[in-house]
Each structure stands twice: as C-alpha cells, then as structure tokens.
Symmetry: C2
Subunit: 347 residues, 2 copies
C-alpha cells in the first residue's frame, strides 16, 4: 500500500535515513550535491513521505478540521459548498488539507469537535455559524486550541479569532437606499433562533433609522423558527396583510426574502410597484426568481478563503493577539426594489 519508504530510498542512495530526511527538508547542513542527488532520486522513484509517521514525531497533522452538521434531508443551502470550496482554496497554498467530520444525527456537534481535537487529527479547526453563545467556542478557548470562527458571539468582550460579514453596514445601506426612495414603513422578516447575525442585521437597520431621526419611520419585525416554513409564511403574511402594510420588507437572508416575494405575488401585489423586497446572501435563486431579488453578496467563498489564511497564521503563531476581520457585503441591485408607492396605493 504505502509506496517507497525513507529507508528504502536511503538504501538505493547508499546514505543514512537521516541524511535523506534532512536533504529532503532542505537542511543546509547537508552538502548541496547530496541534496540534489537525493531530490533527484526521490523524484525519480516517486517517493512520497508517510504522513502518519511524520505526524507522529512532529505532532502536526497537516489537517484543518471542519465539523459539518447534518441538516434535514430536504435542505442544503449553498453555504456548505461555497464554504468548503473557499477553505480548500485558501489552504492548498499552504500545503494543508481539509478534513471534514460529520455530525451524526443523534450526537452533539460539540462531542464530535472534542474528538477531532483530542485525537490529534487536526492542527486547528474552523467553526462556522456561531450562535449568540456557543459551547464550541467555549470548549476551544478553554483548551487553547487554534481556531477561527465564522461569525461572532453576542458577547463582544470575549477575545478570539473571528471573521464575519459586516451586516450592520449592509442593512444600514439597505435602509438608506429605501428611505431615499421614499419608503417610510419597513418590515423585517427575521428568525427566532439564537444567532448573532439576527441582532446585527436588525441593529444595522435600527441604527440607520435612528440616524435619520424621522419620527414617521416605522419598523415591524416578524420572526419564525429558521427552518419552519409554515411559521415563516404565517409571519410574512402577518406583515403583508396588516392594515398599514410596510412598503419595503427586508429578509434576514435570501430564502426569507424569496418567500416574501412569493407570498406577495399570491396576495396580488406587484413587486416592486406595490412592495420593495431586499434580501441578503445572493444565493443562486435570487437571480432567477422574478423580478430578480435585490440583495447583498455575502462572499462566503472569499470569507472561507480568508479564514483559512487566518487559521494558518494562528497555527504557526504568526499572529499576536486575536485576529478579527469584517467582510463588507456587496450590494447587488436587481429589480425587486423601487420607489415607495404613493400613499393612495396603501388601501
């Protein structure tokens, strides 16, 4: 199974194992001529070092771990694919591989993470989708194990490495845009799950509102559990069918905004004439759903690539304090937003 060993290669070259090892590592103590001779032979015979042996002595696995939660059978969002692709891209230039541990249905994500860390399978981990408080981070911090989080804790005083998208800015931007288009009555479709980004995005909206200081501006928030479609639809309809309907509704992320568009269509509303809708993430379907959802590009793939780099730095102890990084989402204007309808339209 395993190909040529160092010992065999050394035998062919008539030098010691140690010399070959050092030569391949580029050790200056080995004569240049020898280094070249060894490199040449290694190439010619196709020598590939055994990672297990290397790991055993060095203590480093050459792996980054990623604990993948298994979602319901009918739902995979694009996040996973984008994120994994980005991590791979970011790691490959450092010669590090990605390793993915799946969480079995019954078990907790934390228990898998713990196993990954303690078996020495990974030199560091990336932790996606951080909740308001997160036992995974707590564990990693306690154990002082290298990690980078994608997302933030609610408690901003805890120091750790994270990267997050700056949704405060994005939702502020969205508000300003819509306000300038004449909108005064806003709706936000949110989730009731304990995720930090929910607060961030709502805060972005409210801060932008406050900056205007316009007493006529209103904001209604409707929430439902994240993967509960029935409750989501109900929440949205509560927003659409109220007496004083918002003229602009923001979805916490695209899936919600798309559902808003569907329900609006069902209610006979024309978008963007009667209602403006804005989402966040820019999933593929956003471009296809008529009339085209205005949204923000979350840049998941870029973020993951960046996270990979940050984690490598952490592992190699190149970074001093905790590294934090905000990614600014990019506005993607499509056709689902427009000027506020004249007051008469609101019947």
């Amino acid at each position: 199974m395993a190909g040529l060993t160092l010992r065999e290669l050394a035998g062919k070259l008539d030098v010691s194992v140690a010399t070959v090892s050092r030569a391949l590592a580029g050790d200056q103590a080995i004569a240049l001529k020898t280094r070249e001779r060894v490199a040449e032979a290694a190439r010619r015979f196709g020598y590939v070092p055994n990672v297990a042996a290397r790991q055993l002595v060095s203590g480093r696995s050459g792996f980054i771990g990623f604990v993948m939660p298994v979602r319901g059978p009918n739902f995979i969002d694009s996040y996973l694919g984008e994120f994994v692709a980005g991590l791979g891209e970011g790691l490959v230039e450092h010669g590090i591989d990605l390793f993915i541990a799946t969480v079995q249905a019954g078990r907790s994500e934390l228990s898998v993470l713990r196993h990954v860390v303690e078996s020495g399978r990974a030199d560091g981990v990336v932790v996606p989708r951080i909740g308001e408080t997160d036992e995974r981070l707590q564990y990693l911090l306690e154990r002082n194990f290298p990690f980078v989080a994608h997302g933030r804790l609610l408690d901003a005083s805890v120091p750790y490495n994270w990267l997050d998208s700056d949704s405060v800015v994005a939702f502020g931007e969205a508000f300003d845009l819509l306000y300038d288009l004449g909108h005064r009555h806003f709706g936000l479709v949110s989730i009731s799950d304990a995720m930090t980004f929910r607060h961030m995005r709502e805060r972005g909206l409210r801060e932008a509102m406050a900056r205007r200081g316009d007493p006529n501006v209103t904001l209604e928030v409707a929430s439902a559990p994240r993967f509960d479609r029935g409750a989501t639809v109900a929440a949205i309809n509560g927003l659409i069918h109220r007496e004083h309907r918002p003229t602009a509704i923001l979805g916490l992320f695209d899936e919600l905004a798309l559902t808003v568009m569907e329900e609006a269509a069902r209610a006979g509303l024309s978008i963007p004439r009667d209602l403006s809708v804005v989402g966040f993430d820019n999933i593929t379907a956003a471009a296809y759903a008529p009339p085209g959802l205005t949204t923000f590009e979350a840049r998941t793939r870029d973020s993951a690539r960046e996270i990979a780099g940050m984690l490598v730095d952490v592992i190699e102890k190149r970074s001093a304090g905790p590294a934090t990084r905000l990614i600014r989402p990019q506005f993607v204007p499509r056709a689902s937003h427009g000027p506020a309808p004249p007051p008469t339209t609101k019947f």
Copy 2:
C-alpha cells in the same frame, strides 16, 4: 496538545500498555473485569487514541479522500455541497472521516490524487465526474487502490466500482412524455466536453426516438464548451432561431435548460405555449425561474451517501467483484413543458 497517552493511562491502572490497548479493543483474551476497569478509566480520564500512531502501525488512516477541483471564481454549482454532505452522512456511521484535497490552479488533478494515495492519507478515494476516458481511474486501477467512481467511462468493458444516475432512462422518459404531448421536433443543448453523461443522455433520447419508429421526428443537437456562456447562448440561439424551430428543447442539465428559457423569453417566446423546455439535476434555481423548470432530480446527495457505503465495503473487502449501481432520477414536473403548439404557430 495531544491528551492522555496509552502509557499514562496504563500507569494509572497499574497494568501494561498492551493490556490497555487490547482491553479497549475488546479483546476476549483480556479478563472481563479488566476490560471494564479499563473502559471506565478511559472514559473517566477522557482518553482519545492518537490517530497518527494507530495509523502508523495499522496502515489504515480512517480517512476517505476526495480530490476537489477548484473551478473558476464565479462558478460553484450545488453539486459539490450536496456531494460532500452526502459523503459525510454515508461515512459517519462507519466512523470514517472525509478528507478533501484541493487542486491548486496550476496542478493536475491526477498529481494531487497520486499524492493522496501515496502518502497514505486515505484508505480509499471517491472520484467524481468521470470523463469519457479518465487518467485518474487508470492510475487507481493500476495501483489497485480502493475507489468508487461517480459516473462511468465510455468504455464499458473496464471493470471497476461505480455509481451513476441512469440518465438514459430519464431522457427516454422525457422524450416519451413530450412525444405524447404532440412534440415531433426536438432540440438538445449539449456540451462539447468529453464527459460520458453527454453520450448517455443523448443516447437515451435517440433510443426512445427509435422505439417510436416515427419518421417525422427530428432532433437537432447544439453544443458548446461547458463553462463558456457566450458559446452556449450562441448555440441555443442557433436552435431557437432556425427556420424549423424545435417545439421542445432539452438541456443536458439545468443550467443549460435555464439559459434556454432566458433566451426564449428574450426572443419573445412563451413557455410552455411556444416551446417546452426540460432540464436535468433539479438545482434550486429550477424551481424559481419562471414558469418553473420541468426537470429530473439527480439525487446527488443520496448518490454520495450510497457511494460512501460502497467504498467502505470495498475497503473492507466485503464485496466480491466490482460493484456498480444505477440511480434512477426522479421526474420533477413543473410548468415549462406542455402540449406542442399547433403547426401554424411555427412560422
């Protein structure tokens, strides 16, 4: 970093390392009382075996490898995410982890695969997206390394383990449906890349055509390089704007079918009144693009889960000959197909 070692645990229990090792492995030669005592202590002290050491002696890594090609920056299809999720799900119950090696822009996929195999990082690999002839499979077969392929070679005489979706049946089914709706002039938007599924799907269509034995049936095939949008649009327009336009166009996969719908809309054609369109894969956008794309569910995630199981069997030598498996795609009727327009419509 690495927690408790076997030696330390043995020290606490006042027995030899070997006894602890055997006890944890459930070796019957160890007294039941000892086994229980050891298990209890291991749990209590949180002992987690070091995988590198274990791998070094056993020769098994506990990893399945997946070599991930990096695509252009703007394009990630849902395949990757679904596939990785499915693999993870399929592997987790066997206590095996997934490891992903990314192919750097400049390097060949084969060279990465070779490295994965020869470094002993994986006990088996899964090879996605098989081409008509595939150097990766050739290498793995030569080396007699466990693998399962997703997709087939054009040459059906080579024996190896594969799983593929039965697109011959699916495209035959699509033809029959459309024929029964009165369609006689067919178009197929294909790719010019050397992928086996291109032949399979076209063959499914032609075989179903042949079965009807209707001399009035025509089929025009238009192809373009897979990721070349400009060429794809041109090929599609060649099909749409010809004198005797097809009344039904099939896309080799959904992206192509969706582009057909876009171009048809641009040409002022109404779907499905003037033109029926059918795709394959059932990507998310298929449901959102008006009027809703009729397609086939490729069941990538299920396939990947199944592949994981097959590979485990191969690794553990439970399967006799090469295992092969055809997954039947499921028809997903939406609104993009309908009765053939009356002959007068074709101007």
